[in-house]
Symmetry: C2
Subunit: 381 residues, 2 copies
């Protein structure tokens, strides 16, 4: 037996799970082929993300279960993050100013109003602001900004610092990371490109690449698809004051984008959503993101263009994550924790809790019930 | 005596001079503080350039002497380049398809027509093409392209391969390169940050940084100023056919830009002209270049965004280069070869010839006469 638990995948989900499993006394191996943290070469969506944790500002029509889960996740996040920071002595750059959603023209305002009505109808807090109040809170917004909505509960975190802290925590808790690509998994171990490893329990948290792992149920693998996202990292030049105080979501002539400021002067602008599985940064995406960002906040033009990168989100056929046991035994020998789509960082803490529960044979929080792998199993005809 | 000749500056001008001086039998030291070829960190305009050699498509009203010099330079370039390629066994990516200048809207066409009338009036060849003929030659031009002008004589070269070949040639001819920043120069040697070196003759070819070299005449130093240029490098993804056959200059709603294709699938898009001396790549410049490039050639959107970089051109107060002897002796102990502004690569071969002549005490080609350092000397009041 090589370990109690083998975790497949070293993004925020897999690393959070490995850390918590090790903290609960298990002997854990984390397997990931990709040791690089260079976003241009690494196939790791966690590195490309913006780190906006916005259950309210992300909520859309028809995804009530997902909203419930996201609200559970954001409630859990701060204490998890605090423990992570305490245990590692690192900062993850958590910000708590909330999200200001703004509308650029009257069509955009109509769209934002419809979303706000919906959010109010399901009991969410979202404060309508007129144009003047939007610009009072964010003076660099375009003069033409028509209005906005403030979501006080949204958080943001520096996704790269967060992943680095999770890694440090996992290593500190005794997780052994090996640079291996897992090609197949069962409840008793994994096959890698170079050999096999055995364990009492196996967790597959390989993001969009979960679909390539043999041994997982067909219907689960085929429910996962890559959704390409391209994102920019801008930086304030030396003497320039920071142009945004909150995370800003903008609807600009029908296009959605977000601008997430960091305390260190970075401003993350994202993101495209493309049904593609390459990670090329394209001229068209960089152009469109800059066009929309400079339209919403003209001073963005003055920022330094630091990086453009692309990642593959693990999308699913119903936009919800897939967390639960699969395979023969009820004991939870083989667990999937994948398909977190746009909410990987937000859901990471709650996912680690849920998987820890599964590994101990107990039930995860009820908010997870709609998101088992079993939901993709077709009724036998 | 440390060398016969010390050349200050390792861009295309300095390196071409060093190579030719060494080939003429001199013992040459080339001093440059910057050994890196990483365009994000190196202060070397040669690395950022597009390599478009366009005396006709660059010619503008009121710069007749510069045009004459550029025409002399482009006549010289191919044989110089051929010798360089032969001697090093490297390709510089020279392309000879000519430049197609296109106008996007009717205002752009009026501007292009005025330039073409001027070029014809001074005897230059420039063939007017209607919209249909432009698109026949470049099918990916925007459907709205109003018309264009073809300059058959323009060349382009891959500036990075060209500099690398010059370096190899210089090294092969015995030039000794030292990583030192020169702070002062005379006709008998240089002072560096760490010591001094002596030589029979000194050539300062330090681009915009020539203005920082003590010992050069004040009026020459103050005639040189940095003109920031930002430029993009795009790349065709795997299976995509190359979208341009010629270098294309476009006037797009009043903005000038160029798109220079390479045989290896790179497409260089440039360039801003900014009166600034930082080398930050800005969100605004990247946006504007992509906006104009995708407007002129919509398929640019599909290209991979490979690099954005910024460099400082050595501009001068009359836009002409500064090549000639300065200081006391007529023997040419101290020579300046700087201020090449937008035409460094085009002028590199002819500049190497001119400086070689000066070092041998003979006269450069007459086209250089208007470009001596002495022209900035004010008549004594």
């Amino acid at each position: 037996m090589d370990a109690d638990v083998i975790v497949v995948g070293g993004g925020v989900i897999g690393t959070a799970i490995a850390w918590r499993a090790a903290r609960s006394g298990r002997n854990v191996i984390l397997a990931d082929p990709d040791s690089s943290d260079e976003p241009r070469t690494s196939d790791r969506a966690s590195l490309v993300a913006a780190g906006l944790l916005g259950p309210v500002s992300e909520s859309v029509f028809g995804e009530h279960d997902l909203l419930t889960l996201n609200l559970h996740a954001i409630e859990r996040f701060p204490s998890f993050n605090a423990e992570l920071e305490r245990e590692t002595g690192r900062s993850t750059g958590l910000r708590t100013e909330g999200t200001l959603a703004v509308a650029y023209d009257s069509g955009d305002l109509a769209a934002l109003d419809r979303l706000t009505d919906f959010r109010h109808s399901i009991g969410l807090q979202a404060e309508r602001l007129d144009a003047r109040e939007c610009r009072r809170r964010e003076p660099f917004l375009a003069p033409s900004t028509r209005g906005g909505v403030f979501a006080a509960g949204d958080l943001s975190v520096d996704n790269r610092r967060y992943l680095a802290a999770l890694r440090a925590a996992a290593a500190g808790a005794g997780v052994k990371t090996i640079e291996e690509k897992v090609t197949a998994a069962t409840g008793a171990g994994v096959r890698t490109e170079t050999g096999t490893m055995t364990a009492r329990q196996v967790v597959v948290a390989a993001g969009h690449a979960t679909r390539f792992v043999d041994g997982l149920p067909c219907e689960v693998r085929s429910a996962i698809r890559p959704v390409k996202g391209q994102i920019l990292r801008l930086r304030h030049p030396g003497r320039m004051p920071h142009i945004l105080n909150h995370a800003v979501r903008a609807i600009v002539q029908g296009h959605d984008l977000y601008l997430v400021p960091r305390t260190d002067g970075e401003l993350v602008v994202g993101a495209t959503q493309e049904e593609r599985d390459d990670r090329d940064v394209t001229a068209g995406a960089v152009h469109d993101l800059l066009r929309d960002a400079t339209t919403a906040v003209p001073a963005v033009s003055e920022l330094v263009f630091a990086e453009a990168s692309a990642g593959l989100r693990p999308g699913t056929s119903d936009n919800g994550p897939i967390v639960g046991s699969v395979g023969d035994g009820a004991g939870g020998g083989l667990v999937i924790a994948a398909g977190h789509y746009r909410n990987g960082i937000l859901l990471s803490a709650a996912t680690a809790d849920a998987v820890t529960a599964l590994l101990h044979g107990t039930d995860p929080h009820p908010a997870w019930r709609p998101f088992t792998p079993g939901r993709f199993r077709k009724a036998t005809p």
